[in-house]
Amino acid sequence: MKNKLTGVITLASVLVVGGVLQGCSTSVERMAAEESVDLSGDWNDTDSRLVSEEMIADVLSRPWISSFVNGQGKQPAVIVGEIRNLSYEHINVNTFVGDMERELINSGKVEFVASSSERGEIREERRDQELHSTEATRNAMGREVGADFMLKGSINSILDTEGKTQVRYYQIDLTLISMADNRKVWVGQKKIKKLVKKPGLRW
């Protein structure tokens, strides 16, 4: 009887210690990039992806493209300008801009030109080619494609808090501006609203 009791205690101890140790170890689970996981309620990759997909789908479905193609006989060249973060969160605007660039390029409906910072690096490389590359492989200066439209925008937010509950509202405004005459050819808006409840108790 005593041996049986000792065995049970030993088994329980092992299970408890094992459980504690398991609780202390880091766990990693791989997941699909498009899978949505909200941890803190802050702006995350899902917000960035959903906004860029929906807004680019909207901009590409509007009549400004057909008007431009009919008038100019070529696809419009677009550049992404500054997306201002006016929200209360430190949002990585670069991932958002990256998502939009990907959607625009992959649509096949517009041509896309490099941003000003990227252009600087490419021009530097072209200057280097003039000195060091063979004539057959050299790319000449002054043959860049100029953008016809610039996509600009802002991310704004409103936070309403009561105790442990927050309503987080994000408004993303994008505008497509003609480089030729400053006309706004498209204005898009996407709103995201989240209800975030923080825990009242912890261990």
Binding site: R84, N85, L86, S87, Y88, E89, H90, L159, T161, K164, K198, P199, G200, L201, R202, W203
Partner: protein
């Protein structure tokens, strides 16, 4: 048994005196050696429940070395930990009732948390990242609204106004300056002259005639810079973090029950008073000379916070006496010696929570100087009350039109001038005895 209990009282008194030993970290801070202070900080063993303090102190030591990016990483880590600690831990509350208050995770009081945001904003400003500073300012606004129904920290609001001005959002800047003004009024403090001129300048610019007239009448200023005069100029804003926040110490009321012989001990924290080496600073560019003004007394915020917390601290301490005595009684019923040992253990474990963010300054001084676009050589001179120079820094800068540049300087040199333990004993002993009776 009684000699044993009396020995415990003496040992415990020894613990109290330990609290007066100066922290090496404080010594390095005062001697302007943030690198050594950081090395000391890394050597000190911070418990998991004190992680917030580790990150907050590290952030100050890094920004003293002008490592603003790294400082912001530490401040953000502290902010994330604090967010988690906002949820109530029943386990920690139970420990606070049975052992002592310092067993709980350190959750900084609101005035320290406002400083967390403020330091992060200043780090961004010194990195010339106005957008980053603006985002942090919006977060600070949410925090202040949530945590201060009245008596907001005026410096936090004034700093917000500076950020909005730097971002050319003059309407928002005026709102923040107005809130800073209201905070000074709520605290019965003098409104700094610089804030007076800011309010006059922006209310006039925005055409708020009634409000402008009200300020004119109240401040009685004959001359202030108009917005049109400021617009083509650059500006330098210098912030000096003067002295060190006062430290908390422990004072205890020890009583022996004459009938049972049991020891009762109630330990409460009290603040020391500090005196800074520097009184003010002067900002010179060869043409103009501006003197600084105090925008915040952090020591006053700390005293006020402890006074506000004291009823809760005493209630928990008294509850602990009851819990610990019950435990000692139960043990004594089983074995008298075990009862005495338990009484001694519970007596010694009664310690006040003296934790706080000690690398904060005692006071924040600010001076602003309008600069014509172009090269300037700037002198910042720290002076004591006798107007004698304590330290001086010179730097060259290029002022740009409509651009604000920010510079901060920590000068922690200060000494503890008196301890308020007698004050704490006298103020709270009646309350404690009333609770015990």
């Amino acid at each position: 048994m009684r000699p044993l209990l009396l020995s415990a009282m003496l040992i415990s008194s020894g613990c109290v005196s330990m609290a007066y030993i100066q922290d090496p970290l404080e010594q390095y801070l005062i001697s302007q050696q943030p690198e050594l202070a950081l090395a000391e900080l890394e050597q000190q063993q911070y418990k998991t429940r004190d992680q917030t303090l580790y990150h907050l102190n590290k952030a100050v030591l890094l920004r003293m070395q002008r490592k603003f990016d790294e400082s912001n990483v530490e401040l953000e880590t502290a902010k994330q930990i604090i967010t988690k600690l906002e949820a109530l831990s029943l386990r920690e509350q139970a420990t606070a009732i049975t052992v002592n208050d310092a067993m709980r995770s350190y959750l900084p009081p609101p005035f320290e948390r406002a400083m967390l945001y403020s330091l992060k904003i200043i780090n961004y400003l010194e990195l010339n990242d106005i957008k980053g500073a603006r985002i942090e300012t919006l977060q600070l606004d949410v925090f202040l609204k949530q945590n201060f129904e009245k008596k907001e920290p005026p410096f936090a609001r004034y700093l917000s106004g500076l950020v909005f001005e730097a971002n050319n959002e003059l309407s928002d800047a005026l709102i923040s300056y107005r809130k800073a003004y209201q905070a000074y009024k709520a605290d019965n403090l003098d409104v700094p002259r610089q804030l007076q001129t800011d309010l006059l300048r922006l209310t006039e610019y925005q055409g708020l005639a009634d409000e402008h007239q009200g300020y004119l009448k109240e401040f009685n200023l004959k001359r202030w810079t108009k917005q049109a005069e400021l617009k083509p100029q650059g500006e330098l804003v210098v912030i000096v973090f003067n002295g060190l926040a006062p430290r908390k110490h422990e004072t205890a009321i020890n009583v022996q029950d004459p009938s049972s012989g049991q020891l009762h001990r109630i330990a409460i924290p009290f603040y020391e008073e500090r005196s800074s080496q520097v009184d003010h600073f002067e900002l010179q560019n060869g043409i103009d000379k501006n003197s600084s003004e105090a925008f915040e007394q952090i020591d006053e915020k700390a005293y006020a916070n402890l006074t506000e917390q004291m009823p809760g601290i005493i209630t928990r301490a008294v509850a602990r006496v009851a819990v610990k005595n019950k435990l000692s009684d139960n043990m004594a019923d089983k074995n008298p010696l075990l009862g005495v040992v338990t009484n001694i253990a519970t007596f010694i474990s009664e310690q006040a929570d003296t934790r706080a963010w000690y690398s904060l300054p005692q006071q924040i001084l600010i001076s602003r100087m309008i600069l014509q676009p172009g090269k300037h050589e700037i002198d910042i001179t720290l002076k004591n009350t006798a107007n004698v120079t304590v330290a001086k820094k010179s730097s060259k800068l290029v002022a740009l039109q409509q651009q604000k540049q920010f510079y901060s300087w920590h000068w922690p040199a200060s000494t503890a001038t008196s301890r308020r333990d007698e004050h704490a004993r006298i103020t709270y002993s009646t309350t404690i005895r009333h609770h015990i009776d």
